[in-house]
């Protein structure tokens, strides 16, 4: 059976596309799927850094498309997680090095090789975005609870619908305390404007910074709230669409906090 192509996009930059792509990819691979994550941000690659694989890049996506290598040669296998592969972007070219028809061809090949291919879309709605969505089957739109991010996500959703792709929404970097005080948009506010299916909610988490800087997979960190949320998102994305969404909330009482500390296994 042919694999799925899923694009992770947002419009606005810096909302967490790359981290989420890497984490969902890792989580799906841990579930036993053959997963490839493709960095579409040609010229400004960083998915390789987030995954801690930058020192192993030999070929990149532009080399594949220009026929200088095969997909198998360019795909870098993750050492910690089986079945997880990275196809890095080129750092010396720009977005125009790839045309939409090249992506249709590449995604056709990827479908044969992998169960799930995740495309890490660059910010913006130009060539890089067009290339990323042209062959995608599904889309994950990442949005933070900020008015500017919501505006851009709305634009992206319109463009995705125009391509007959039905997007799913991930709201990232929720700070429950600020939401409670009314200083931050709640995920309900975001969903009300965007009106698309919600895939998951991710709480602001310091582990993310550590994980992206050291290149260790976030989903392997048991204590990370974001890692946990991303594992659930991966489940909902593939095979378990009915898994309930966990709403990040402040842990109210001291006793609750204490008990959750004691119940932790390691």
């Amino acid at each position: 059976m042919d694999g799925k192509i899923i694009v992770v996009t947002s419009g606005k930059g810096g909302v967490g596309k790359t981290t989420i792509t890497a984490s969902i990819g890792a989580a799906l691979a841990l579930q036993g799927k053959r997963v490839a994550v493709v960095d579409m941000d040609i010229g400004l690659r960083n998915l390789d850094v987030v995954m801690g694989l930058e020192n192993r890049i030999v070929f990149n996506i532009v080399d594949i498309i220009q026929g200088r290598c095969k997909i198998k040669q360019a795909a870098i296998k993750d050492r910690r997680i089986d079945n997880l592969y990275l196809i890095p972007a080129s750092q010396s070219d720009d977005k125009n090095a790839i045309k939409p028809e090249n992506m249709v061809w590449l995604c056709g090949k990827m479908r044969k090789e992998f169960d799930i291919t995740l495309l890490d879309c660059p910010a913006g709605i130009e060539q890089g975005f067009r290339n990323s969505i042209v062959a995608a089957d599904e889309a994950v739109v990442v949005c933070t609870p900020e008015v500017s991010a919501v505006r851009d996500a709305d634009r992206i959703i319109g463009l995705l619908y125009a391509q007959s792709i039905t997007p799913k929404l991930v709201v990232n970097r929720i700070v429950p305390k600020m939401v409670e005080n009314g200083d931050m948009l709640s995920h309900e506010d975001v969903v009300e404007v965007l009106s698309v299916d919600l895939l998951g909610l991710i709480e602001m988490d310091e582990y993310v910074v550590v994980s992206t800087n050291t290149g260790t997979p976030l989903v392997l960190q048991e204590e990370s709230k974001a890692g946990k949320a991303l594992r659930r998102i991966a489940l909902r994305l593939d095979g378990h669409p009915d898994l309930p969404i966990e709403n990040p909330m402040i842990q109210k009482t001291f006793w609750k906090k204490l008990s959750s500390k004691f119940s932790r296994k390691n």
Binding site: V147, R151, D152, D154, R155, I157, G158, L159, V193, S195
Partner: protein
């Protein structure tokens, strides 16, 4: 009035809110009817419910009333015109009102819609343009744009930019069930939306004393005062 040999049997011009039809009464009735068909066909739906004045020239013509009645019936049957009269100085009276009511009652059957009705959510970056009125059954998101020659009616939340009465219709209004636009324009007037000003009630914007005013639509409905329901 004298009719020359080469005068066309029928002449048509717009006078006030009526169509003034000048006929040559010396010609046979069939030729007159034939002469009426061409200009009225050209009018298409504009002829529907139009008020017609048939001018036979000389007032002392013996079969004048009969001729006007025959041609009037013909026009009503063929082109659904409204009231047909002979040229008289209009005398505004009770009968006038009755005629207006009659015409109004008939007018909806033939009225051709020139509003654009859209269902769904208009998202950021999307732009909807209507020649005349625009009705959106859904929300207009921030960053989206609606432009209309006439009114804009949003059956949902208006959060984007709405420009009604473009380019210069200052009678146009903007109505929304939830009124929190980024910006609105009516004709040449512009107003910025104010954060958190929405009352969670239908509101509408219109021009008063060269400024855009926003009011509660239920309380201040501007059309309640109209004597007759009319086409906008």
């Amino acid at each position: 009035m004298n009719f020359k040999e080469d005068t066309p049997p029928v002449k048509l011009k717009g006078v006030g809110d009526s169509l003034w039809v000048t006929i040559n009464p010396s010609l046979p009735i069939d030729q007159l009817k034939q002469g009426l068909i061409t200009p009225f066909q050209r009018l298409k739906h504009l002829a529907v419910n139009a008020r017609i004045i048939i001018d036979t020239g000389a007032e002392d013509l013996e079969n004048r009333d009969e001729l006007i009645e025959t041609l009037g019936d013909f026009l009503k049957k063929e082109f659904q015109v409204g009231h047909v009269t002979k040229p008289v100085t209009p005398n505004r009276s009770v009968t006038q009102n009755r005629i207006r009511q009659q015409d109004m009652g008939n007018s909806w059957h033939h009225y051709q819609n020139d509003g654009l009705v859209i269902a769904g959510r208009v998202r950021s970056g999307q732009k909807i343009q209507a020649k005349k009125h625009l009705i959106v059954l859904g929300d207009l998101n921030p960053g989206a744009e609606a432009i209309a020659g006439g009114d804009i009616i949003i059956m949902g939340s208006l959060q984007g930019k709405a420009s009604a009465g473009q380019p210069d219709n200052e009678e146009a209004i903007i109505v929304a069930l939830e009124f929190k636009p980024t910006q609105i324009q009516i004709g040449g007037f512009v107003a910025g939306g104010m954060a958190d000003s929405a009352k969670n009630r239908p509101e509408f914007a219109y021009i008063e004393n060269n400024a855009i005013v926003v009011d509660d639509y239920i309380k201040e409905n501007p059309f309640r005062r109209l004597a007759w329901p009319e086409v906008r």
